[in-house]
Symmetry: C2
Subunit: 480 residues, 2 copies
C-alpha cells in the first residue's frame, strides 16, 4: 500500500465549527454538558470563525445568547469541522448528516466504541469508518479530544495556553495530551499543533506524524502511542519524522497488563514490547518513560544547543549533595573531569573560602551567597576546554537558612547569575531538587525557565534528558 501524500494543513484551518451534542444542563447532577466545554474552549482561544451548537434537547442558559440549532441541516451556514459529543449509538446518524452538510472533518469526543466491552461498540466503529470513507469526511477518534492549535484557535480545554510554540504532538490519549500541554507550558515548552486521536478509526497516527514532520511551525515532535493498525506505515513515518526533527515517544501498553488497560482505553492493539523496541531502534526516535521524562527531554531540545560531549562542569552549595549527584552522573555515563589548568587557575583566584573546593565538582559552600563569584566563575567555566556543559545544583534548604546571614535573597542570586549567563556560550542547566518551602523552589524554577534555562526537579531526570540531547545529532535549539 502506497502512502498518500499527507496534506492535513486544511484540518487546522476550519472556517466554521459545529459542536454537536446535548446542550441540556443535568440539573440533578449539576452537570454541565460536554458540548459546552468545547464551545467555551474555542471562544477562549479566540477562534475566529462562527461556532454553531447543535442539540436536540433544549439548551441550558450556560451557552449565553448565541443560537443553538436542533439539527445539523438546520445550521444556516456551511460547516467545515465538527466536534461530536452525542452518545455512540447516535453517531452514524450524526455523521450522515455531516456528510450531507459537506463537513470536511469530525473529531468524535464520545466513547463507547471499540474500547468498550459492548460488541455493539465495535460495530458502530466500523459503521463510522464506512461513512467516513464513503462521504469523504476525515474522522478523528472516536474517544478523543481532537485538535489543539493556538495559531488558529482550535482548542479542547478552555484553560489550555493560547500562545503557540514549536512542539507538535500526536497522542492516542486525550489525558496524556492535556498533561503534556500543561506540564510543557510550565516548563516553557509551547505547542504548534496537538492531535488527540483516540481509537484511530480513520485518521491514522502516521498521517499526522507525516504532517508534523513537514509542518514548518513544528520543530520538535512528541508522541504518545498505544497501538497501531499499520505498523509498517508507522515505522516508515517515524523513520522519516525522526530523520527531520527530534521525536520523543512514550509507548503505552508495553507489558501485557498495560496492553489490557490500553485495549479498554482506546481499543488499541498495542503489540509486544520487543516488537516496539526493535521498531524504534530502526529510527532516531527517543523513547521516554513518562510525561515528566518527555518534558525534561523536550526542554533540552527546546532550549539547548547540543553539548559537545558528556563532560560536566558540576557545582553545588552542599558538599554531600554534590558527592551523591556526582555518583548519579557517573552512573548515567557522564564524566566530571578535572578542569583545564587555566580554568583551575582562574577558579583558584575566586573560590577560596573555608569548606569550598574548586576542583570539579565545585563545592561552592558559602560562596553561593557571594554575587561577585558568578561572573568570574562562569566565565572560567565557559572557556574550560575539559568540559562540555555546566550543571548547577540549587539546594533550597541552604537558601532559606542563610539568606539572613548573607543579606542576599535567592532572587538576587538568581538575577545575578541570569545576567552573567546571558554571556555564557556553553549549554547550561539547573537542578533544584524538592526541599522545604516548595513555593520558593517554584518561584526560582519559574524565573530560570522564563530565562530559557532548562530546570529539572531531579538529577536523574536532568541526566536522562541530557543523554538524549547529546545522542541526537541535531546541533541547534529548536526554539528561536
Amino acid at each position: 500500500m502506497e502512502k498518500q501524500k499527507p496534506d492535513l494543513e486544511w484540518l487546522f484551518h476550519p472556517r466554521s465549527i459545529g459542536v454537536i451534542g446535548s446542550a441540556r444542563m443535568d440539573k440533578d447532577a449539576q452537570k454541565v454538558p460536554h458540548s459546552f466545554y468545547f464551545t467555551v474552549s474555542l471562544r477562549s482561544m479566540n477562534y475566529r470563525g462562527p461556532i454553531y451548537v447543535v442539540s436536540r434537547s433544549r439548551p441550558s442558559d450556560v451557552y449565553g445568547g448565541e443560537g443553538v440549532y436542533r439539527s445539523i441541516p438546520d445550521v444556516p451556514d456551511p460547516l467545515d469541522h465538527v466536534i461530536v459529543c452525542t452518545p455512540a449509538h447516535a453517531m452514524p446518524g450524526v455523521l450522515e448528516d455531516c456528510v450531507r452538510k459537506g463537513v470536511r472533518s469530525a473529531a468524535i469526543f464520545s466513547s463507547g466504541f471499540e474500547e468498550s466491552e459492548d460488541r455493539q461498540g465495535a460495530r458502530l466503529q466500523d459503521e463510522i469508518l464506512e461513512i467516513a470513507r464513503r462521504g469523504n469526511i476525515r474522522v478523528i477518534g472516536p474517544n478523543c479530544m481532537g485538535l489543539y492549535c493556538p495559531e488558529t484557535g482550535l482548542n479542547f480545554r478552555a484553560d489550555l495556553p493560547n500562545n503557540p510554540g514549536v512542539a507538535g504532538m500526536i497522542s492516542q490519549s486525550g489525558g496524556m495530551a492535556i498533561r503534556t500541554i500543561f506540564q510543557g507550558t510550565e516548563k516553557g515548552v509551547g505547542f504548534s499543533k496537538v492531535v488527540s486521536y483516540g481509537n484511530e478509526v480513520d485518521l491514522q497516527s502516521w498521517e499526522i506524524l507525516d504532517y508534523l514532520a513537514q509542518d514548518e511551525a513544528t520543530r520538535l515532535i512528541l508522541v504518545y502511542i498505544e497501538g497501531t493498525r499499520d505498523g509498517r506505515a508507522l515505522l516508515r513515518s517515524l523513520k522519516e519524522a525522526s530523520g527531520r526533527k527530534p521525536v520523543l515517544l512514550i509507548k503505552g501498553g508495553l507489558c501485557a497488563e498495560g496492553r489490557r488497560a490500553a485495549s479498554s482505553h482506546t481499543g488499541a492493539m498495542a503489540g509486544s514490547d520487543h516488537l516496539w523496541q526493535a521498531m524504534l531502534r530502526q529510527t532516531r526516535t527517543h523513547p521516554v518513560r513518562d510525561v515528566s521524562e518527555l518534558l525534561d527531554t523536550a526542554m533540552t531540545f527546546y532550549f539547548l544547543k547540543r553539548p559537545t560531549g558528556r563532560r560536566i562542569a558540576l557545582m553545588c552549595i552542599s558538599g554531600g549533595l554534590i558527592v551523591n549527584y556526582t555518583d548519579l552522573a557517573v552512573c548515567h555515563g557522564f564524566e566530571i573531569p578535572a578542569f583545564a589548568p587555566d580554568t583551575k587557575k582562574a577558579l583558584d583566584e575566586v573560590i577560596h573560602a573555608p569548606g569550598t573546593s574548586c576542583a570539579n565538582p565545585i563545592d561552592m559552600a558559602s560562596l553561593f551567597f557571594s554575587n561577585r563569584i558568578y561572573a568570574p566563575m562562569f566565565e572560567a567555566l565557559d572557556k574550560d576546554t575539559n568540559t562540555d556543559f555546566i550543571l548547577f545544583i540549587i539546594a533550597m534548604e541552604y537558601v532559606r537558612g542563610l539568606e539572613y546571614q548573607y543579606k542576599v535573597s535567592v532572587q538576587q542570586i538568581v538575577e545575578a547569575f541570569l545576567e552573567i549567563l546571558a554571556k555564557v556560550q556553553k549549554p547550561f542547566v539547573v537542578v533544584i531538587p524538592p526541599s522545604i518551602e516548595e513555593e520558593c523552589r517554584l518561584a526560582v524554577e519559574r524565573a530560570l525557565l522564563k530565562a530559557r534555562i532548562p530546570t529539572f526537579l531531579t538529577m536523574d531526570g536532568a541526566l536522562r534528558a541530557l543523554s538524549a540531547r547529546i545522542e541526537d545529532p541535531r546541533q541547534d535549539a529548536v526554539s528561536r
Copy 2:
C-alpha cells in the same frame, strides 16, 4: 579489636553547652558569625540548660543581652558539651581548654582538616584525636553540624522542626542531614536523633549506629555515609542495626569521581562500589540512590504496614496515564491482576459511566468527581483477595479543569476519601505527579500526608519505595 559497648545516651543530654568561636559581626560582609547561628538554634528549640558563648573578639550585639566570655576557663559554670566554630589552627588550644574544663563532648563545625588540600589540616586532625583520647573527651567531626535531638533541644539550625519523630539518622554530611530533616518533615517523617559526624576523627559512624539500634526512641534508621576507617566494625553494626530496625542507606562516593569529591568533602576513604555492594548484601540494609528515594522509602516504613505482596489495585482518572503507569509498575516487578469475582461484581455496580473501566487498573474517568463512589469502591478493594495494596493516582490537570463541571472541589474529594480510608485496612498510597498549579498539588499532598497516607511525586519513586517496604520482613508501621 572488640567493640566497646555503646552508651551514648549521655551525649544527647548535656546539662550545659558552650558555643566557641568569633562573636564579631563582619561589618564589611554584613556577615553574622556562625557561633550566633548555633546559639539561636539551641534557643529556638528550647534547649533548657545554660548556653555560654566564648569569643576572644568583641561580641556583636546580635547575641542580645546575654554574657559572652573571652575564654573557656572564664566560663563560671561546668560545660558538658561544646560546639566549636574557631579556625582549624586554633583547635588544639581550644580542645586543651575543654579538657581542663571537664567538657565531655565537642562537636567541631570548623573545616580545614583532613578534607583540605593543606597538609597542615591532616596534622591538626591527628592532634585533635590525640587530645580527645588523652583528655577523655568525645569529639564529633570536625567539619560537621553535630547533634540534633528535638526531645532535649539539641539543634544545629534555627529553622529545623522541634517536634520529635521515630527516625534516627547518621550522616557524614551536614547538608544531607539538613536536607533529609527538612524533606522528611514535609513528608511527615520526624526525627528522634540526628548526628552529622563529618571527618569522623573520634566518634565513629558504627558507634552512633549501635546507639540508634538500641535507642528506644528510634524505630527507623537513615544513613548517609561516604567512607569509614573501620569497615569491619561498620559491617557488624549495619548487620545488627538492620536486624533490629529498618535501615535505609545512601552511599556517597560510589564512583571514582564521587570518591574524589568525598575526599575533599569529609576526607573520607570511600572504598570501591563493589566492596560496598558486597558489604551491604550481608545486611538487611536498603540501599537508596538519593534523598528523595530515602524519604519516599522512609514514608512506607513510617506509615504503612507491610503489604502482603506485590499485587496492586491501581486507579486513576486518566486512561492514558493509567496505561503508562501500569507499564511502569510491571517494569518494577509489580502485578496488576484481575480483581476477585466478588470485587468485580461490587465494582460493576458503582463504576459504569462512559469512559470508565472497572477492571484492574480502574479508569475512573469522570467518576473521580463523584463523592459517592469512594465508599463502595474502597470497601470492595479492601476486601479484594487478589490484590495486596491500593495505589491511587491523582492527575491534577483534571481536577482543575473539571471542578466547575462537577461542582466539587478537590479538597472535598480528598476529604471524602480520607473519611472512608480511615476504615480501610489494606495499605494505601497516592501518587500525584507534577502538573499545572503546583501550589494546588502541594495542598492536596499535605492534606494526605497529614492523614498519614504516603504520597509520592513520581510513580517510579512510589514503586521503588514499595519494593523496599515489601522486601523488608517487618510487618508494622514504625510510627504509632
